[in-house]
């Protein structure tokens, strides 16, 4: 967490350093001139001041090269204190999720969801939200480098022009371009044009977390790479097999919204979810029946499904007891049934699931098939293999790697072969592993700095618009490709605008403002199954232990590893931060004689890796799970020394043995989770019990109190959290962190139990460690009406306001910490050190509406007081009361499932008042009579009555 870069104190130190001067010339031409002429401090300061002003006024549409004097008057369109939002998209592995970027005084400051976008509906996942941090990341690439030495953009242009002449002469022979999955129509068109220009050119697509099997499954089933779009709101019974529907699949935020809409029995009929999982994921947490299954069991389940649903045959006699009732359930809800299988299962399984879904009659109801969203769907693994072979065979003369980091994410053969390419260019945000090996590394324009476009999971196109001029002078892939095509002065705007030239200016502006181009959603495909009976399944693995390499939910394939927010975001089940130990089942842990943090030796394919383990309840005993994305070798200050890279192990047979030693693993759960029973805390029950008595989770009587009721004004802020809807995705936690300038503390301080998140998601296990039930509970300041924290503060630093908020007066706090001790919910966080001051973070990325807390001060959730204040100002100006829904807390806005409702509980018609009137509503720890303003709606499990509780 400490800055790792060498510190220089004055420009004089660098005088005469040619590389530095080149960089200065690149970034501040005026400054370079002055430095070259000899030191004249006044002029240097003047120019630096101007440069600073330019950086701050990044949204100024003026040409930066022509204006170096800071304006006294604000640029047009920016009113100090008035915020604005601009739509764009967060693109992950090609698929777009609509976002809006919140600007304060012309500076992008926060990423929020885009309600108009079909993959967001207003929600934003942690990865999208953390993009604001990566935009301002001081570790980003600052200029073009040649063989890791600063060289300058002009030098690159000269070199590139030379290569281009050769490429043109060879008609593209030896020219290779490597991109990730491309859904961008513009990028697709550019590449198609290049292919015409240079017929011998090769375009490869590969990324570490690809969806090859999904594509192949569709090819097997339908003969073409159709994509499924799921409608979980219409699904009555869902069988999810190793599924990432709610956690990572394209459109997962949409899936979560649709799914959660069917989970509260008070709101309507509940759907039923069966989840089959080898390693626990969000889908399993939510399941009514979660079945722990390794590769063999999954094969067995699919075989049984095929036999019963496709062939109407009898099940094998030794089929697990739950399968027959589950199949009956699926068949009974034909048309409302859906089976989903995750991207880590073989293509044949996917093809079979397609056949099953068709047989269950879900097509057009619970799912649609659309034509591929990708510009050019290909087998990425094969593409990479070809590229590596060509590189190793010396057939690659020029290689452009656009935005990917294969030297880290691909097998080691890639990095080896890359060294043999005479001219390679890596375009990337940060000087990563690939940049280190490539001939040239070019700073990429951040997605929030460049024009582009991308499709969502359902095909809808979003134009990505720059939110700020490139802070570090980066260029987009579009511009590089335009250069390659011979366009000497590429302009990202023109390139994208040209793709959409069929939109007139009004439609273009409408599309920019809403973040979606109307009518671009994919049309349903009329593809028909090739074989009604589904394919023959390959035999399951016979390995005793299978290593499941999964993307880290937040670092993904490692591309976000330099994001402090994502590193310190507790993983949904393990609550681990800053590390990726090997997840093993309790049974395997017993067998190996290891516990959390103990080291084990993993051997596979001649490689040996010593890593710590983490015992994961609910893990299949024959599977071990490792998250990718950690163990980056070439990375900025944040991601250094975080976790392990499991990729070198490959996918060969794996053996595990105990090694000596213990490794410190930081988790935000500072106790053995199996000791912590959720009874009474996360109230939950079955749908049957709910039907018998809807109020069965409520305490019998409210307790009497000697104290008079708390403020009785017109406004009383309150919150209700629906535990049926919470999927544990942590979007709210990141949103809170971004909104409230919550500092990151680093691994060492988490080990000392000092994490600062104002909002946390508590996770409880119930039942046996082998197959526990998982219960989640978002936990934030309850804003108790009888707040225990308030009475114990000797200086009155925490008080009640007239609207029932428990407010924290940072300036008054002397730091006795008594309030934290007396908080039954333990939601207060203390600045043991100057955490905010020590963050390596640009000041522009902070929310200027929220004060940054000093050392020695307590802090906690404020119900987004600043948002309430903003709404109150608006309401006061119009001389009216604040309307219901006008104040949306950051956590509430980010939540994909709308689990959180917030508003005025005095207003009987408000959404939150209605939620609080639910028979499921209860106050946490109501026996101590704190009268919390936050209440929960108890979790109901819609279990299949035909399945005995202990059979799964």
């Amino acid at each position: 967490m400490r800055p790792g870069k060498p510190i220089w104190r004055s420009l004089d130190e660098h005088e005469g350093d040619a590389a530095f001067m080149a960089r200065v010339a690149e970034e501040f031409p005026g400054l370079a001139r002055v430095l070259a002429e000899g030191p004249d401090r006044r002029q240097v300061l003047k120019l630096m001041g101007a440069g600073l002003a330019l950086g701050l006024g990044g949204c100024d549409p003026g040409d930066p090269k022509g204006q170096i004097i800071p304006g006294i008057k604000a640029p047009p369109g920016i009113v100090p204190g008035v915020e604005n939002e601009y739509a764009t998209a967060s693109v992950l592995d090609g698929y777009a999720t609509g976002i809006r970027v919140r600007h304060q005084d012309g500076r992008p400051m926060q990423v929020v969801g885009n309600p108009d976008h079909p993959a967001s509906l207003g929600a934003a996942d942690p990865i999208a939200q953390a993009r604001i941090l990566s935009l301002y990341d001081p570790d980003r690439s600052h200029g073009a480098t040649k063989r890791n030495q600063p060289a300058g953009w002009d030098a690159f242009l000269a070199a590139f022009e030379q290569r281009r002449a050769g490429i043109a002469a060879r008609k593209g022979e030896g020219l290779n371009i490597l991109t990730g999955t491309v859904t961008s129509p513009t990028l697709g068109a550019q590449l198609a044009r290049l292919q015409q220009l240079y017929p011998q050119m090769r375009w490869h697509q590969w990324q570490a977390i690809n969806r090859d099997v999904v594509r192949q499954g569709a090819m097997l089933a339908y003969g073409r790479p159709v994509e499924a779009v799921y409608h979980l709101d219409r699904a009555d019974v869902i069988l999810a097999i190793d599924s990432d529907l709610l956690s990572a699949a394209p459109g997962h935020l949409r899936h979560a919204r649709d799914f959660a809409g069917r989970r509260n029995p008070v709101a309507g009929s509940m759907s039923r979810l069966y989840a089959v999982e080898s390693t626990p994921d969000l889908t399993g947490i939510l399941a009514d029946h979660r079945i722990v299954a390794g590769p063999r069991e999954i094969h067995e389940i699919l075989t049984a499904l095929a036999a019963a649903i496709l062939r109407h045959g009898a099940l094998e006699p030794n089929t697990p007891a739950w399968i027959a009732p589950a199949i009956a359930d699926l068949e009974a809800h034909a048309g409302g049934a859906l089976i989903h299988i995750g991207p880590d299962q073989p293509a044949e399984y996917h093809a079979l699931v397609h056949a099953l879904n068709e047989a269950l009659g879900g097509r057009g109801k619970t799912f649609d098939l659309i034509e591929p969203v990708e510009a050019n769907p290909i087998d990425q693994a094969a593409s990479l293999r070809t590229l590596i072979a060509d590189m190793a065979g010396g057939r690659v003369q020029d290689l452009l790697i656009l935005g990917e980091n294969p030297a880290f994410t691909a097998p080691a053969a890639f990095a080896e072969a890359l060294k043999q390419v005479p001219f390679s260019v890596s375009l990337g945000l940060e000087p990563d592993e690939t940049a280190e090996l490539a001939t040239w590394h070019l700073p990429e324009a951040h997605p929030l700095e460049a024009w582009s476009d991308a499709r969502a999971h359902d095909g809808t196109v979003t134009i990505l618009q720059p939110q700020v001029l490139p802070l570090f002078g980066g260029h987009s892939a579009h511009e590089i490709l335009a250069l390659l095509a011979g366009d000497g002065a590429p302009d990202g705007y023109k390139i994208v605008r040209e793709t959409w030239s069929k939109l007139d200016d009004a439609a273009w502006h409408r599309s920019l403002a809403s973040g979606v181009i109307a009518g671009t959603a994919g049309k349903p495909s009329d593809g028909r199954l090739l074989q009604i009976g589904g394919p023959t399944l390959p035999a399951p693995t016979d390995r005793p232990i299978t290593l499941l390499l999964r993307p880290d939910p937040y670092l993904w394939d490692g591309r976000f590893a330099n994001s402090a927010w994502l590193q310190e975001l507790p993983r949904p089940l393990t609550k681990l931060v800053w590390d990726n130990p090997l997840l093993i089942a309790p049974a395997l842990a017993t067998q190996l004689g290891v516990g959390n943090g103990d080291l084990v030796k993993l051997s596979a394919g001649g490689k040996v890796l010593t890593v710590p383990v983490w015992v994961q309840p609910g893990q299949a005993p024959d599977c071990v799970t490792a998250y990718r994305g950690f163990g980056r070798r070439q990375i900025g200050a944040v991601g250094k020394n975080a976790g392990f890279d499991f990729l070198p192990l490959g996918d060969g047979p794996l053996s595990i043995e105990k090694a000596s030693g213990v490794y410190a693993l930081a988790t935000t759960e500072h106790h053995n989770p199996l000791d912590a029973a959720p009874e009474g805390v996360v109230r939950h029950g079955t749908a049957v019990a709910f039907a018998a008595n809807p109020k069965f989770l409520q305490s019998p009587d409210p307790q009497a109190s000697l104290y008079p009721p708390q403020p009785t004004g017109d406004t009383a802020w309150g919150m209700s959290i629906d535990l049926n809807a919470c999927i544990g995705c942590n979007a709210c936690v990141t949103a809170c962190q971004a909104e409230n300038n919550v500092p990151v503390v680093g691994k060492d301080e988490v080990l000392r139990e000092r994490e600062m998140h104002w909002l946390r998601i508590d996770r409880y296990y119930e039942g046996p460690a082998e197959a526990p039930r998982v219960l989640l509970q978002p936990m934030l300041c309850m804003h108790c009406e009888e707040a225990p924290c308030e009475v114990v503060c000797p200086v009155g630093a925490t008080m009640h306001d007239a609207e029932g908020l428990n407010v924290m007066v940072y300036n008054r706090c002397v730091g006795t910490r008594f309030c934290s001790n007396n908080c039954p919910y333990k939601v207060r966080r203390f600045n043991y050190f100057a955490f905010a001051r020590d963050e390596v973070r640009s000041i522009q990325s902070r929310n200027q509406e929220v004060s940054v807390r000093a050392r020695g001060v307590m802090e906690k959730c404020s119900f987004c007081l600043q948002r309430i204040a903003a709404a109150r100002i608006d309401a006061d100006k119009e001389d009216r009361a604040i309307r219901d829904g006008e104040v949306v807390t950051a956590c509430q806005a980010a939540c994909p499932t709308q689990a959180i409702s917030f508003g005025n509980i005095r207003d009987r018609a408000s959404a939150v008042a209605k939620r609080k009137a639910s028979p499921l509503a209860y106050a946490l720890l109501d026996e101590i009579n704190t009268k919390p303003r936050v209440t929960y709606e108890g979790r109901i499990r819609n279990a299949n009555p035909a399945i005995a509780e202990d059979s799964v």
């Binding site: 114990v792 009155g796 002397v814």
Partner: protein, 445 residues
């Protein structure tokens, strides 16, 4: 074996020569090495505080959810030790107990330095110690007052009142003896120093009259103060709803505990001092016997409090309280709990025996056990309560760091440095009261 409160051969003049002689420069071979060690510890304290102020309370082991740690434990422990002196000095003065006379100066000095040690912790423990004065209700432009419902505020007042009164009480008691030292001093430096400190006390009848009245009033103030200060310390915890703290019996429980550690500390200091300074004629075996009985009594009171603590948990049967108590007795910190029982309850039971009460090494060992045991009791109250509170998701652990221990060690050094200076520079017994006692004995043989 004499069980008199004073040896029969003691004369007023001999006693005064003896005691004043120590203060005026009798050679004490052991003193300098001890003082050097204490000064070394004082250096450590300085380093620990300096680093604390520079870096913040994060250098300690406190965390979320155990936001109070060694600083609060040490504070309660020191203030408990301080109680012993006040109790002996004020309570037994009011009750006109003879044996008090030979002990009160030692006990009060102990109180003074223990209270000083205690007093620095609440300030060190603050996140922003430079704003400690915000606890004080001073008029300010913001029109802000402290929050009068908070036990911490009353704790601040109680401590302040206690420390100030203790200093006054001690100094008032010292006044006639300082005058004696002034009169007996031979060097100019001593004459000036003691003369200034004696504040013109010449032993006139009117001065004696006023002194006596003032001292009596101070004693009458101090006696309830010692109860109130520990009650308030108890309320620092009982006023919270936190599991393990939320108990109405805490105020008397804390008074019992304080008095137990106070008596133990007096014994722990008096026994070696008696030998080193050859005070056997004045601090007789009778004193040790009485103090032993008092320690046993206090221990029984504490035992009752422990029993009630356990009883009320199960009688109240709040699940979180029960979980916390079971964790306390059988969990991670169970050794602390059982050591508390062993040191504070079981060890003092040996004092039922008259013979063992007079076995000085044993009594010293028991006293040390009680002193350590009382520290552990506060550790148990502060740490084990907080590490298992209502919500299972917020369970955590606490481990003190080097700087925590350095601060504790440093305050022990501070205590001994102060106490050693007292032994070196001031009369260790209240000479004028001793003379009074000797005179009274003469008159009524």
């Amino acid at each position: 074996m004499t069980m008199e409160a004073i040896a029969p051969e003691v004369t007023a003049a001999g006693m005064t020569d003896d005691i004043a002689g120590i203060a005026l420069g009798r050679r004490l071979k052991w003193w300098l090495p001890c003082f050097v060690v204490a000064l070394g510890g004082l250096g450590l304290l300085g380093a620990a505080i300096g680093w604390l102020f520079y870096a913040g309370v994060g250098i300690w082991g406190i965390d979320w959810p155990v936001a109070w740690g060694l600083a609060i434990i040490n504070y309660v422990w020191w203030i408990g030790i301080a109680s012993g002196g006040t109790f002996i000095s004020a309570f037994f003065f009011l009750m006109r107990v003879e044996w008090r006379t030979a002990l009160n100066r030692i006990a009060e000095s102990m109180t003074l330095f223990a209270a000083a040690c205690a007093g620095i912790f609440p300030i060190l423990h603050l996140g922003r110690p430079w704003f400690f004065y915000w606890l004080f209700p001073y008029p300010n432009t913001m029109g802000l007052w402290p929050q009068f419902r908070s036990p911490l505020l009353w704790d601040f007042f109680a401590i302040l009142a206690y420390v100030v009164s203790s200093v006054l009480f001690w100094y008032l008691g010292l006044l006639p003896d300082l005058a004696s030292l002034r009169d007996r001093a031979t060097s100019r430096r001593q004459q000036i120093a003691y003369g200034a400190l004696a504040m013109g006390f010449r032993g006139t009848a009117s001065q004696w009259k006023h002194h006596r009245a003032a001292y009596g009033v101070m004693a009458a103030i101090m006696a309830p103060l010692v109860v109130s200060v520990h009650s308030i310390v108890g309320l620092d915890f009982a006023g919270a709803q936190t599991t393990g703290w939320h108990s109405t019996q805490f105020p008397p429980f804390f008074v019992f505990g304080a008095v137990l550690s106070g008596f133990a500390s007096v014994l722990f200091l008096a026994i070696p001092l008696r030998r080193l300074l050859r005070l056997e004629p004045y601090i007789t075996e009778h004193h040790l016997d009485v103090l032993g009985k008092l320690m046993l009594t206090a221990s029984l009171c504490v035992a009752y409090a422990y029993l009630m603590d356990a009883f009320s948990v199960f009688y109240g049967a709040h699940p979180a309280e029960v979980t916390m108590f079971i964790e306390r007795a059988f969990g991670l910190y169970a050794p602390v709990y059982w050591a508390t029982i062993l040191f504070n309850i079981l060890a003092p039971q040996l004092l039922w025996s008259h013979r063992l009460r007079l076995n000085q090494p044993l009594v010293m060992a028991i006293s040390l056990a009680v002193i350590v045991g009382m520290w552990l009791e506060r550790y148990e109250i502060v740490v084990t309560s907080l590490h298992r509170t209502n919500l299972p998701s917020a369970w955590g652990v606490y481990h003190a760091t080097f700087w925590d221990w350095a601060t504790l060690t440093g305050t022990i050094a501070l205590f001994f440095a102060g106490f050693l200076l007292f032994v070196r520079l001031l009369p260790v017994l209240s000479m004028f009261e001793m003379r009074e006692l000797i005179g009274k004995r003469r008159r009524q043989p």
